[in-house]
Amino acid sequence: MAELILEHIYKEFDKNVTAVSDFHLHIKDEEFIVFVGPSGCGKSTTLRMIAGLEEITSGSIYINGKRVNDVAPKDRDIAMVFQNYALYPHMTVYGNMAFGLKNRKFPKEEINRRVMNAARILGLEELLDRKPKALSGGQRQRVALGRAIVRDAQVFLMDEPLSNLDAKLRVQMRAEIAMLHQRLKTTTIYVTHDQTEAMTMATRLVVMKDGFIQQIGSPKEVYEHPENVFVGGFIGSPAMNFFEGIVHEGSFRIGDTRLSIPRSQMELLRGLGYIGKEAIIGIRPEHIEEAIVGTAGGNGSGTRSNVSIQVDVSELTGAETMVYSSLEGQKFVARLSAETAIRPGEHVNLAFVMDKVHFFDKETELRIRPVQKAAELVETS
């Protein structure tokens, strides 16, 4: 079991291409950390630096207090699962799992015990004599996991391990990996570009973009309090809706549409001098509801603002209906119940749940937060 500290890590490739900038993170024992972000955001590079497959340009990596910058991958006591499984095609399933232990000169009985144990956990007992070619994608992925498990390593590193599987298998393996983590409690760092995977598996998420950490937090924190427009838009499916407009006393105006701002938010915006200034609001699709006729707001409590729109597309996904439309030329999607009678082309009233709206600065695209709180955040990081 292990604790990892990544201290101001930078990675520069040739010609001054910076892949990772000032990556700073303290990973606690038994955590399941997910690095998530679009391709090219530096998440895999960071993982590979932890593995020792990529040199660190500057900064330090500590595993259990020991600085490992110059330690060879095999001596870092880590196990890695690769995107394309990276199984040895000429070895059997047993051989694949035993290879790392043989290299470390484990006694034969111990190797056998560990491989059999891992095979039992992963349901691979019947396949031990097969070569990887004779396995399905899911089985191969299990062997790759098995290869990591037998090592009993301090840290598991997983680089997009499910991206080659079909959708159904991916969901199944996702659950299996989560269960495996609950059982083994090995500190795990998992890289993915799939925000659903990230949300469902992580104890803590690290959202990255262009080599910079955008936000670190539990899935719930990141979902409910995105630090910036990018995080808001990246985490959650369908993505958060954004509208540009101007902050007025008591309302946010998008063209001719006025949305009322809840009192607490208003105080903050006023205090920070946003009145009369441009800003961006973000609202999740589930916070846009069907307006109930004859009421000022929607059908629940709290501040709601009704808007009149024309429906472009409505998609029934089964349990819910996604309604696509635009407000003052800015596109958005609302997640309504499956029973809704709204049809494409109709003019309808929708209610924005304004208590759930996030305000972002237009220039920096950062969440507008109390100055004091922002200062606290800087201190604690």
Partner: protein, 323 residues
């Protein structure tokens, strides 16, 4: 009887073949026509001579004229009658040495060089081109060039050795029966190493980087990585090169002929089966029966190559399926 429109269509469908299908199959037959010239050449210049050699090996000859069917007589003579049996054994032995020598000097070295070139060294394209260059020359030219280089009195090699103070190393490389065959093997390796490097490089480049990374994390040392990852995974290219080298070694003719003449001198020390065949069939070793005997030898040579290739392909295929 008047048929309704629907019925007409049905009858048409039953009686006439579907036009689209017909058209397609005609097109396919038409395409086959394009293969015909190549097929005629192949049958005329490959299949027919092989079959003729097979037939001829069972006949006696007078000059170029086929005489009587004599069963296995030619084969029996080849293996039991002096001097044929001695020459055959001697030449066969040289072919075996030629094969082993080429595997050691060409394949092992080519694999090592391919590993080096594959390790992302600078100028890899340059090295690839340099090593491949000799292959662009004709074998006869290579043979002639090396005859000059290796000339004992004024050849470049001995002159060089004398110049750098290693005069005692100077040697009649092609004139000494002890060194002649090995010298030819080395020349052949120099000539063919570029091709082997290319094949090995293709094999090495097909190994995904991730496998090496996984092995690194699994704690494999450099040597272990080579023995347990690289070589097993490059096995298809190693097998192909070994088979090609085997075929090449047993067919070898031009280089020895160009450097040492048709008798594989000095004193038959570089004689190989193909040269022996040449002398039997077109030379003057045993006037009358030469074509029959030569054909018998050609058939034996053919069978050796076929059997060895089939066996290695069998193991190779089995390995491939296992992977």
């Amino acid at each position: 009887m008047v048929l309704k429109e629907q019925e007409v269509v049905e009858v048409q469908e039953k009686v006439l073949p579907k036009p689209t299908k017909n058209k397609r199959s005609m097109k396919r037959h038409f395409l086959h026509l394009f293969l015909l010239p190549a097929l005629i050449f192949y049958v005329g210049f490959q299949v027919y001579p092989i079959l003729t050699a097979f037939v001829n090996s069972f006949y006696s000859f007078k000059g170029m004229v086929r005489q009587d069917f004599i069963g296995l007589e030619n084969f029996i003579r080849l293996f039991t009658e002096e001097p044929y049996n001695t020459i055959f054994t001697n030449a066969f032995g040289h072919n075996v040495i030629y094969f082993i020598g080429t595997v050691v000097t060409k394949l092992v070295l080519a694999f090592a060089l391919a590993l080096l070139i594959n390790s992302k060294i600078k100028g890899r394209e340059f090295f690839k081109a340099i090593f491949f260059m000799p292959k662009l020359l004709s074998v006869i030219v290579v043979g002639f060039l090396f005859s000059l280089i290796l000339n004992p009195t004024n050849g470049a090699l001995n002159s060089f050795l004398k110049m750098v103070g290693l005069a005692e190393w100077a040697h009649p490389w092609l004139g000494d029966p002890k060194t002649a065959l090995y010298t030819i093997i080395l020349v052949n390796s120099w000539y063919g190493i570029g091709f082997a490097i290319l094949i090995f490089l293709a094999g090495l480049q097909a190994i995904p980087e991730e496998i090496y990374e996984a092995a690194k994390i699994d704690g494999a040392s450099g040597l272990k990585m080579l023995l347990q990852i690289t070589i097993p995974m490059a096995m298809p290219s190693i097998m192909i090169m070994t088979i090609l080298t085997f075929i090449g070694s047993f067919e070898t003719f031009e280089l020895v002929f160009a450097m040492q003449g048709s008798s594989g001198g000095p004193y038959y020390s570089t004689d190989v089966l193909a040269l022996f065949f040449y002398r039997l069939a077109f030379g003057s070793v045993d006037g009358g029966d030469a074509i029959g005997l030569g054909s018998a030898l050609a058939v034996v040579l053919f069978l050796i190559i076929c059997t060895a290739t089939a066996i290695s392909l069998f193991f190779f295929k089995r390995k491939e399926i296992e992977q």
